[in-house]
């Protein structure tokens, strides 16, 4: 081994500005794309069974999903509210110490509530395109889980640009509301509030 040790090329660290780089988002974004594509392709290729496991206490899979999605959206509203307080965007409220915990737990609960819904959607119904509502719902559903994955992965990285988390969180919230509007809202508006 004749290789000689060479000192690393001198790099000048800027002591004033903390190093933020949008390039840190590349890997999370790629993983998120992969998640969204996987869900979409699975939903399209897998032939829908029409049935999956049912949840006790509800009359049909459609009502279960409508209620689970509604609960998820309510927790997502808590998400947006708590993040606004955390970022100091609500001038008359100073962030209490538990706001971080509230934000994290409301997000976890909202996410967990969406999981049975997406499993039923993809396994029993699939990615469908037969009208505008269903097409928008299918696309938004895939994008939501991609965006959520990007946000979760982005949280673990230090040195993200400041806009990254608000944009990702806002996008995930907007997509969730689109999903809810094209499914649960549609369902309740046609069939009424039923269990």
């Amino acid at each position: 081994m004749a290789a000689q040790w060479e000192p690393p090329a001198p790099t000048r660290l800027d002591p004033v500005q903390p190093a933020t780089s949008a390039r840190l988002l590349v890997v999370p974004a790629l993983v998120g794309c992969l998640v969204a594509l996987t869900l979409g392709i699975y939903g399209r290729l897998h032939s829908p069974t029409g049935v999956a496991v049912d949840v006790v206490g509800f009359s049909s899979p459609a009502t279960v999903k409508a209620w689970l999605a509604t609960v998820a959206v309510l927790f997502a509203v808590v998400q947006v509210g708590s993040s606004l307080v955390m970022y100091g965007k609500v001038p008359w409220i100073s962030a209490p110490s538990w706001i971080g915990g509230l934000h994290r737990w409301s997000g976890r609960i909202a996410f967990i509530f969406t999981v049975p819904v997406v499993v039923h959607c993809l396994y029993a119904l699939g990615f469908q395109t037969f009208n505008a509502r269903v097409l928008v719902h299918s696309i938004a559903g895939c994008l939501f889980f991609g965006t959520f994955t990007v946000k979760m992965l982005a949280l673990t990285r230090r040195g993200m640009p400041g806009w990254a988390l608000p944009v990702l969180g806002g996008l995930a919230f907007a997509l969730l509301v689109v999903i809810w509007f094209t499914s649960a809202f549609w369902f309740f508006s046609i069939f009424g509030f039923r269990r």
Binding site: P48, V53, V56, I112, Y123, L125, M152
Partner: protein, 256 residues
């Protein structure tokens, strides 16, 4: 190394999804096994249609799998047998088209419900086929056709399941709601005094299966494979005759 909490959130979500998917798959595959057994007993009883139906439904209900518990939700298997309690409270659409293959891939069935009338068609793309009529009643269908063909089903928003008996052979199905251009199509034409009646089922994936009765007015009409239906022009070429098909569609009520 400590795993960051957002990653734990993702892992928990994936684990929950996987367990729900797994329990769905076991529920469905257990049902398939039950249906295979039912089909075997149905074949043994071929000719005695009523016995076959009873055997099929009882086997399916006896072999109901026990649900695999998942952490956030209590899972249970979807009910394979038509039972009145589980259908109560289901969302029953007034208009619905259902189409799909029967278990064991021995043919396809389409059911069209329009207000208080329902039309169904079973066909294997060859000699076995039957048109059935019936009246929907709170999400339940009991339909009859020529040559002792019968169909019983439960239907709700998005899916229908039940049993169809054609030529003494019982088939179990669990099919989904379909929309244009999928669905049920029919063509009736009178050529040289004989009524030709053809039916096509276009499945959700675009594949079609169809049969043609060259003399539909007989008590037990024979059938053979129908010529391919052109879904865009709704025509099919049967030798020198052009058959014009009508969709039997729940949403528009056409064909009723």
């Amino acid at each position: 190394m400590k795993i960051p909490t957002p990653i734990i959130t993702l892992i928990v979500g994936v684990a929950l999804a996987a367990s729900l998917l797994f329990s769905s798959m076991t529920a469905v595959s257990a049902k398939k096994a039950a249906n295979a057994a039912a089909a075997a007993s149905a074949a043994a009883n071929a000719g005695a249609a009523s016995t076959a139906t009873a055997a099929a439904t009882s086997t399916a209900s006896a072999a109901q799998p026990t649900g695999v518990g998942a952490s956030a939700t209590t899972a249970r298997s979807p009910s394979a047998s038509p039972s009145p309690t589980t259908s109560l409270g289901f969302v029953i659409p007034p208009h619905a088209n259902y189409a799909g293959k029967v278990q064991g891939n021995e043919g396809s069935v389409a059911i069209v419900v329009h207000d208080n009338f329902a039309i169904a068609y079973f066909c294997n793309g060859s000699t076995q086929e039957a048109w059935l009529k019936g009246t929907p009643h709170h999400g339940k269908l009991s339909m009859t056709g020529k040559n002792h063909a019968s169909l019983t089903a439960n239907y709700a928003l998005g899916h229908a399941r039940g049993t169809v008996v054609v030529d003494g052979i019982s088939h179990i199905f669990s099919i989904i709601a379909v929309h244009k251009p999928s669905g049920l199509f029919q063509s009736i034409a009178v050529v040289r005094g004989a009524t030709i009646k053809a039916g096509w089922i276009v499945l959700a994936d675009g594949t079609q299966v169809g049969s043609l009765e060259p003399n539909a007015n007989s008590a037990d009409p024979s059938a053979h494979a129908a010529p391919k239906l052109d879904v865009s022009s709704l025509t099919a070429q049967d030798g020198g005759t052009t058959l014009v098909a009508t969709p039997i569609d729940a949403e528009t009520g056409s064909g009723f």
